[in-house]
Symmetry: C2
Subunit: 344 residues, 2 copies
């Protein structure tokens, strides 16, 4: 019969990258290995009415590019049919920083110019991102990079957020595997906070906090060019970061060869997460640097990919305080995922 | 036949209180008046197994106090059976600010000393907070205040977060009407950000941003001592703030007479929200000041109560950037709620 391990006392940890306080509260938890999604994503094979399926391209918003550029595409970059920002608005010819934005008396306002794109990651409805080969996932990552290089030409775009919502409760309105890119005329507050926090660490230690972060206890898997960890102050149970080994400020510096390596690690991690946590809905986000950075910011700016499985909800405490309560210590989550064997 | 109003262009607004950027994106929305909860809270009358019901007190964690102090109580303050923080840990005799917390090499750590309490707002399972009389809701607010005054005696507690989760998808694990109080050995990041933002506004204008905020377009309802608005840069559709008219830094300065007035306005707003939005799950949070504030911070520190109905989910964009996408402009939300008549 399994015995319950002795309960650790709760503690608060502050992440040196996100600058966020997290309450680790194991008394609220079942055993870490018992965490499972209560709303697993079921594969949906009904593709007849899905505009993202091959053959239904005419039901979609305009295409930006496809790979390869012929009818038998493997991935497509398209406009979002319901964009959060408008690519048709006049955009100021320069930066919309606080000094140039309009102050309405009630707060600052910036016109909603920007790009909201969708990446259809596969032509086949029943295929998920983690079903693709490492090189095919690499192609998706390279497509992000190609689109970022196009958008960087617009002076008024300051930050590009790449993200994936998998599963309805993680925010996905379409079940066909896709990710999104939202190009913003501002630098979002989380990005400023992250860079300030990494700068502070750099000023104190002379080192980049993500170059320094690797710890055996927190390590899940590693490859030639990347390593994955459960971060020291994970906001969510089984939160995972994939970090490039070599210091790099911007995701779009990713070389093609390294994209395949990253594709392989992302596939492994997503497979492990699905197996261990009962195919949970999840989000991933690429945390990169603002398009414009100064030379002095480069030594502490290091991009990474964050994966959050949706296992626990968010309530009034988190909304009010910005602190999170995590019932699973990251070394426990890392050990479980590290020791898990998955057939690839 | 109803016609669709002309679509406004998207815009980004930065809130002068929360310092958060919000994308207003009406192109994604149905008409503001068509917003309804898809997962309304159904009253659950099965009280036989509910530990919060009168008569089942022995199933609960220890009681802190009850009002009135006899078997026929109307509300009870109890310990949370699964506390996020421990009241039994040794606590440092002073402030756990960054300078005194331990730096582990991976990030800062503070022992998880604190209090996690529950307020059972009514002895009757089927009664919701908005069903109570204004004076009974006032009693709940006065109970918060009484408990805050007890906890302030602990030097190492720096901030007290009062919040309510109503409905499972808003984080409530119990359907019996209750709220919670989490007393923390740190000042949470959202609180520091809010105070810095209000300080900046004060330095620029010489005025408190919440004393100044009242705008006819954003007003929902007002009473002698409070007013309710849809805030200028609402992060969520139909988000509502209730603000004391008189400048006040801390919630626990609330006088008994004003508590009844606030109880009446809170009741009205919750009734309107339930009627207009199909009884949505919701959270409310009291945003107050840290226990220790300096005299120089008082002129711009102004507490308020924030109500967030759960109508739209959060996805990778919000998790990654800290920006929110709101499909409803606050003047539209305010107008709908202002003009709604509810039987009280």
């Amino acid at each position: 019969m399994a015995t319950t391990p002795p309960t650790r006392s709760p503690e608060l940890r502050k992440d040196p990258v996100t600058n966020r306080w997290v309450i680790f509260s194991p008394a609220r938890a079942k055993r870490p290995s018992d965490f499972k999604s209560k709303s697993p994503e079921n594969p949906n094979n009904n593709s007849s009415s899905c505009p993202f399926c091959i053959g239904n391209e005419h039901q979609c918003a305009p295409e930006i590019f496809r790979v390869p550029p012929d009818p038998n595409w493997k991935l497509r970059f398209i406009e979002n049919l319901y964009p959060a920002l408008s690519r048709k608005l006049d955009h100021p010819n320069g930066q919309n920083d606080d000094s140039s934005s309009e102050l309405s008396g009630l707060g600052r306002v910036v016109p909603g110019f920007g790009f909201h794109d969708v990446v259809i990651e596969t032509p086949v409805h029943s295929v998920q991102l983690s079903d693709l080969d490492p090189s095919e996932i690499g192609d998706v990552l390279i497509a992000y990079k190609r689109r970022i290089e196009q958008i960087k030409q617009f002076d008024s775009i300051q930050y590009i957020q790449v993200f994936k919502n998998h599963g309805a409760s993680a925010g996905a309105s379409m079940s066909h595997s896709h990710s999104q890119m939202l190009s913003l005329p501002i630098v979002p507050p989380s990005v400023s906070t992250r860079l300030n926090s990494m700068k502070e660490h750099f000023n104190q230690t002379g080192k980049c906090s993500l170059c320094q972060v690797q710890s055996k206890d927190l390590l899940i898997n590693e490859t030639s060019h990347f390593f994955s960890i459960a971060p020291y102050a994970s906001s969510f149970p089984f939160e995972i970061w994939i970090i490039p080994r070599d210091h790099s400020s911007h995701f779009d510096e990713l070389e093609n060869k390294k994209a395949v390596d990253l594709g392989g690690l992302l596939k492994l991690i997503l497979k492990k997460m699905a197996l261990q946590l009962n195919n949970p809905p999840f989000n991933f986000m690429i945390h990169t640097s603002p398009i414009q950075v100064t030379d002095s910011e480069l030594p502490y700016s290091h991009w990474f990919l964050q994966i959050i499985p949706q296992l626990t909800g968010v309530g009034g405490f988190e909304l009010g305080s910005g602190c999170y309560i995590n019932p699973v210590f990251p070394h426990d989550a890392a050990k479980i995922l590290r020791e898990l064997n998955v057939p690839i």
